[in-house]
Structure formats: C-alpha cells, structure tokens
Symmetry: C2
Subunit: 249 residues, 2 copies
C-alpha cells in the first residue's frame, strides 16, 4: 500500500467546507482527515452532501481537542499558508513540498498538511507545530484561496508525484480506430478524380500536383477513423446530387 | 499585458458554483468568464458571496445562448472532461495543455477551457466544438471533481506556467535575520563552558571534543536568528537559577 499524507483542518467553521475537503482528498487518493475543534458537525446533512460520495473519508475523520494532539504521530507537518510572518521556518512551493513528502514516505515517515480556519487561517501558535510552510503561488492581488481549493491544489500536486499518476492512463483520443492508409488513399484518389472531372484544376493545370498535395496534407492531418472516411465518401456522393427542388441544368 | 485563457461554463446549475469558479479564476489571474445558459443568476446573493471578492470577474462575465456563440472568437478550445467517449480527439494532461496554451498565446491566439454542468458534464455535442480534451489525472475510483475544483486545478496549472509564477517570491522563511557566526559561536562557547563547569563531560573526558562537536552541529542546524540566540542565552541563565521554592543546596 502506498503511504499518503493526512489532512488536518484546524477549527474549520463550515461543515460544507469539510465535505468539500473530503471530496477533494478522495479525488486525489487521500483518506486520513483530522479535525481540530470543528465548529459544526461534519457528519450532518451539509457536510455529507458536500462530500459527494466521499462518505468514508468523512466518517473515519478523527476529531482532536488541540493541534498538539492532532499532529502527535506525524514526523513532518507542513502548514499551508500564504502569509509571511516573522517566524523562522522554511517555506516550500507545492512541488518541492510533495517531492519532500514522497521522500519522507520512502523513509516510512508520516506527513500531514495542516490548514487553518476559513476566515483567518492558521495562527502563529498553530504554525509553531509545523516543520515548514507550504505556499501555493497565486495571483498576489487576490491570493485568498477557498479552504477546499487549497486542499485540492496540494492533494492534486501530491497525486501527480505518485506512481498512480504515472500509471494514470491518459486516453489517446483514438478510441475509434484510425483508418488504414489504403482506405485514406482510396478516398483521396476518388476525391481528386471527382474534382478533376468537374474542372477543379482546369484554370491552373500546372499547379495541379501542388494543389493535390495540399489537399492530401489537409486530410492526412485529420487522422481520420475508418468511419469518418465512410462519412466523407457519403458527403462527396451527396454533393454531386442535384438539390431536391433544383430544376436547373 | 499577458494573455490568459478564458473559462466557459456550459449550462452551470448553481450560482454558488459560478461564484467559486470566479474566485478560483482570479486566484490564478484569469478574468474572462463566459456562461452558456446558466440556470441561476450568477450576480445574485449566492454567486456574489461565493466569489469572495472576485466581483469584477462575475460582473464582466458574458452570457451566451449557445456553445457555438461562446467559442466563436477563440482559436483553440479545450474541453475539460474525465470521460472517454467514442470520439476522435486528442487528450492532454493539464501540464501539456498549459504548455500548448502558452505557445498559442505567443502566437497571439485565444484559448478557452470549457466545462460542463455540475451533474452531467459536457455532452458529445458540446465536445464537438472543442479541439482537444484536457483530463485531470485523479483517483480512478473517485474521479468526479467539483466544478470549481476542476477550474482551480487547470487555472493553477496555467498560473504555474506563466512568468508570474516564476517571479512569485516564495519567502525563504528567514524574515528574522539569521544570526552572525560570531554571536552563534559566542553562545556555543558559553554553553560549553557552563556545561563543563557543571560536570557534563566529567564521566567521559576523552569524548568531550566529539560531544562538543555534536552540540555545535545541532545548534548550527537550527539557522538561529539573533533574537533566538538571545532567547537561548536567557534559557541557560534561567536554568542555572534555583527553583523558587527550592530549599535544597
């Protein structure tokens, strides 16, 4: 089993935010949530609705009376805060923090990320329990992040540093199998023939090879599926028909 | 002025979510929000409260009747979705998507990220307006992200790819100036003298140099500030005093 960091919320005010934190955590594979003196019952309607199915994270969340008790069994605690204070503590960005977390896990150490209450964040007293500060680089003119958003960004960055993310399969978008070259070439040949028969190249006969080449490049670039080639055949065929009410010619 | 991508929300259901999206956008320096057929008034109480001060983003948001109209002036539209569908479209992770966005901006092109409604995401019809899909790698067992969380992750990744993030100053934590070596050494000398006078090294006199070295390493590692050295002087002095009610000795 892969170790994952814990999330500690110090005196969160709204159950809804706790729920959104739970959801964000599970989105990124985190499951250990700790609450220091939450103001509202996180297992009430608002919290459970906001967690959107991450009920297990919510129900297994532990409640602590003090920060000291909540951090007791961790080797490293990172305090998430944007504020610079007159304290001597290392400050890391999310990526460096996660790289350090992965290394700590490899040493069998336990790591937690600690977040303050919605309105005012972590106090200097809370910060005295942390080894380092982790700061999310954001717009300096509007830097106050929603609690669950802060958790999301750190949890997301953590997930990107895990083997899980490496093995995360980004589908290549070619669910429909790409057409074989011979089908593509047959279509292109038919298109060229039809165009030639209708005088497409007549005004500039010497430019025909270059024009054909450009058309081939264009359709090649589309990485067409077999089904799409059939569609294009149908389009060409249809365009050659007369309009339904067209009495001309 | 640095170009930044736009955010298009297709048929968002809750004004509160639009507000949270606005907040997340401004947190990461994004300001152009477009809404396709929002169900609720995003400028109502819930939306404005949720945007937490990003009122300008909310008030300048444009409303469109169709996706086609909302995307009309963009060169590239990325659809944010986790679903794999039977469509032939490139799929990018957030980092690759942002790298491509930065390049597109350098070519003076306009880029948008499009998000679907909370419950059901983007439809296949919506997706037909997109150039590519951007997928956020998350826990495959619980991959449904809150709308504003999805926006936050992409906006955050975008911000990390901008020069703004490079110039974002992560404070080095040494707000209080680090002590000069002579003050540290004076303190270490005093500590050693006081320990020696009280018999700290008596039982193992030949190990004294090694013990002193270890103590020096320990305090060196702390990167003490001048104020902290004064505090340590105070601690040593105080520890040598008798307890207030101690009648012994």
């Amino acid at each position: 089993m892969i170790s994952s960091p814990s999330i500690i919320l110090v005196k969160p005010q709204l159950a809804e935010n706790i729920g959104m934190v739970g959801r964000a955590m599970l989105n990124c594979g985190l499951t250990d949530l700790r609450l220091v003196k939450p103001r509202e019952d996180h297992l009430g309607k608002k919290g459970i609705r906001a967690c959107a199915g991450a009920d297990d994270v919510m129900r297994s969340a532990q409640i602590f009376p003090t920060v000291a008790k909540a951090v007791a069994d961790f080797n490293t605690v990172y305090a998430a805060t944007a504020r610079s204070r007159d304290i001597v503590k290392p400050v890391l960005g999310p990526k460096d923090c996660m790289a350090a977390t992965i290394k700590a896990h490899a040493r069998q150490e336990k790591v937690a990320f600690m977040f303050g209450r919605e309105k005012s964040g972590l106090t200097n007293v809370d910060l005295s329990y942390a080894d380092a500060i982790v700061t999310i680089p954001v717009n300096p003119a509007f830097s106050s992040l929603n609690l669950a958003q802060s958790v999301m960004v750190l949890a997301y960055e953590w997930f990107q540093h895990t083997p899980q993310a490496d093995s995360f399969e980004i589908p290549d978008g070619t669910n429909a199998p790409k057409a074989r070259k011979k089908d593509l070439l047959a279509f292109l040949g038919l298109l060229e023939k039809n165009l030639a028969e209708r005088g497409f190249f007549d005004s500039v006969p010497d430019k025909r090879p270059k024009m054909v080449q450009n058309i081939r490049h264009l359709f090649q670039r589309l990485s067409l599926s077999h089904a799409e080639i059939l569609t294009l055949h149908g389009i060409i065929k249809t365009l050659q028909k007369r309009k339904k009410n067209d009495k001309s010619v």
